[in-house]
């Protein structure tokens, strides 16, 4: 266990020593604006991630987009969600590299990933459960299990956004 801890600390330090990381910290000539630009692209991508997931969650809760069936709305929205998530993850990784050690030890940063992990588990449960019988409730009122999944997803993603924003204030 001790050995593993040392290795992680060494890995984080190694990441921070990469030239890309130094550039992201604005330490190289002409890179002062790199981090703000990367962060802005991260924000743009995450708004699409959250916005599209919220649409589906609100549909599962029966609050919005009731003129669209759940399966149609998911096939309409989810390709964008995944593309935007990949983009957000890419630019998020770059931001992480700038101060890997600081972020890894930050409470809000860790809580953000706990929320995202739980959101993934919630999505998996929903897909293996209520979504399998989607044909029977596609255009009508979603069953309680689907509503619970929608509420959990919405809350967890709100948590991801909140903790993400708080990382910037605590590091």
């Amino acid at each position: 266990m001790v050995v593993l801890r040392v290795n992680i600390a060494a890995l984080l330090a190694a990441i921070e020593s990469w030239p890309v990381s130094a550039a992201l910290r604005g330490e190289m000539p002409g890179t002062e604006w790199l981090f703000p630009i990367v962060e802005t692209l991260h924000v743009m991508a995450l708004t699409v991630v959250f916005g599209s997931i919220a649409m589906l969650d609100l549909r599962l809760l029966g609050i919005a987009s009731r003129n669209s069936s759940v399966s149609r709305l998911s096939s309409e929205v989810l390709p964008w969600t995944w593309a935007a998530w990949g983009t957000a993850a890419l630019f998020g990784t770059l931001m992480f590299m700038a101060k890997a050690g600081t972020y890894a030890g930050n409470l809000q940063f860790r809580l953000k990933f706990v929320c995202m992990g739980l959101a993934a588990v919630n999505m998996l449960i929903f897909h293996l459960g209520a979504f399998r019988q989607v044909a029977s409730w596609d255009s009508g009122e979603p069953p309680v299990s689907a509503k619970v999944a929608g509420a959990a997803s919405l809350s967890l993603w709100i948590g991801v956004v909140f903790f993400g924003r708080w990382v910037g204030f605590t590091t």
């Binding site: 743009m44 995450l46 919005a64």
Partner: protein
Amino acid sequence: MFRPFADWLSTTALSKTMQDHAWVVPTSQSIHIIAVSIVFGSACMINLRLLGVGRSGRSVSQLSNTLVPWMWRGLAVLLFTGLIQTVTEPVRQFVTPMFWAKMLMIIVVATMTSLYARAVRRNAPQWDGASSRPSRAKAFAIVSTLLWLAIIVCGRFIGYTWSFYA
């Protein structure tokens, strides 16, 4: 011109109270980002539909009538949380051109969206048919997407540029 006003605003009791509570700005900013997601996410869905990108099963009027009201709700939250941030840190907002560019673009894009929504409400069948749709539909989709992206850029860059002007 705005600097004396910003300085005065930052000394008011309301501003001072919020400055004293360190959680106010980060919390307000988090809610602001969630509202940006609702507004920008909805705008993207509508604009992609107008451009014929993606696999929407819904007609233009269905999509607009569902999503435009959510954009107005989101915008109301944005104005409220933006006001909280401005009253708490007025100098930070008023000194940078990013803030004023952002406000100007919001007025333009909100007016465009309102005119668009009214046009669709008045003549849904014309907007729903791919061939009968007014040619300005695509121009609206491109310009409004670019404006929202520029608004996000300016919003994020307020925080990175204000110290140069203060």
